[in-house]
């Protein structure tokens, strides 16, 4: 397994959580989400997002409404549903736990090096 592969695996696992985080902040349309994810270097090709959004919507975590745009074609604005909020909370907890574990591991590593 090469480094790029490992990185993309990491990103993939994070993607769902990050999308929910972005949408939680404020309703967003796909290109918005893409821009923010690209800034965080979380996706390589834009197309990755669409199957994911559709699945989250079908699972009832997201809902959308169409809005006319003065800048280009009409947009789908996604927002979090109540189920989505719940789901996000669960993910938040999991992330905190994960973050903690990883940090502890890293800390012990740096301590050992010193």
């Amino acid at each position: 397994m090469n480094i790029e592969n490992a990185k993309s695996q990491m990103r993939k696992g994070m993607l769902e959580y990050c999308i929910l985080l972005i949408v939680h902040r404020a309703p967003a349309y796909a290109s918005d989400i893409i821009r923010q994810l690209e800034e965080a270097e979380l996706i390589v090709v834009e197309g990755t997002l669409y199957p994911l959004l559709t699945r989250l919507k079908n699972d009832g975590l997201l809902a959308y409404e169409w809005q006319e745009s003065s800048y280009g074609p009409p947009r789908k604005y996604y927002r979090l549903t109540a189920d989505g909020e719940e789901f996000l909370n669960a993910l938040d907890d999991a992330w905190t736990a994960l973050d903690k574990t990883v940090n502890i591991l890293r800390k012990t590593n740096t301590q050992n090096e010193n």
């Binding site: 290109s31 090709v45 834009e46 699972d59 074609p73 669960a90």
Partner: protein, 395 residues
Amino acid sequence: MKKTININLFGTLYTIDEDACKLLEEYLDSIKLYFSRQEGGEEIADDIEHRVAELLWEKKEQGVESIDLMTVKTILKQIGNPEEMGDSTANEDAASTDGTAKNNVAADDEASQEAKKAQTKPTTRKFFRDPKDKVLGGVISGITQYFGGSDPLPWRIIFIFVSIFLHVAPFFIIYIVLWALVPEAKTAEDRLRMKGKTVNPDTIQEQVLADQEKSASAETSNSSNGCAKGCFIATALVAAIVICGMFFVTSIWTSMLGIFQNQGFGNSSITMHDVPIFGVFTNVIHNLRIFVAIVAVAILVALYFILFHTSKKSVKIMLLIAVCFLALLAFVSIKHNFPKFPWINYTYTHTSNITRPDGSICEVRYKEIVNGNDTIIQADTIMISEPLQTDDFAE
């Protein structure tokens, strides 16, 4: 100079180069096809189309008057190919009802690793008909691709040779059945599978562009010749002349075989006549049924191509028909002029009328059966008319 097309995407008009438009269409089609296999696929394809429209709109805002091939390529690269977008977690949903992130990630990891493996492994070949290189249904070219070949022409010739020399009907039926059952390689993905190439985003992009160029060059050659359906009668006439020419050439050729036979082997067969040209000619005519069938098929195929394909290709087909023609006539003439193939039985019959001394007329039917070096001659005598002067003898 390039032609441009106006397209309407969600209520906005875009001016786009013809080749760029085709690439875009192929791309959107492949996306639709790819996602049609999963739930909510239509919606995903629609979303992606919206994204394309948005990116085109941005270009338009920037003052780009006409969208060219490069722009479309950049956009497609940005959005990515359907295989890159695969949502590998979709299948794992049912398994991880608990919804903890750890479960999800683990499952996701496994699934995507499997997907990766599948992606890097060269795909097993699949049998498709090749719509980009076909004479009738693209069956032979599909078979050629399946077995790793690239140019189906020799195999087409071999197929026709074999079917003529053995038996036309079963091969014809096999062909029709394959035509009906084997799917056409419609998308770039299918075409890659057909050739046994690895299916991944890069190769798909390559394939789409290669097809693009191919169809573009085919179109230019078509427009330069410019008479696909318009001058039907003229092309039909040309076809008739070509076929007559082929007939002439083949009759000369077979007559040369006849001369060779007369000089080399003294024992001329019964059906050989004094003048070799006409002699062989009559032999050929004896097989009138096959002959007429072949000519009819040739004319039909030729007309089909003149009507529906570029003329460059129909020339190729004419050549193919000519070769088959030669093969058939060679076979027929060899069969008659060199009767001693050890593996084939030949039967010659001829009749002659004999007047007997008593005035009765008999028909004698000779049957000569040649098998290898053995020749069996059978003769049957049939009386046609009674002796004339029976009364005289009685008196």
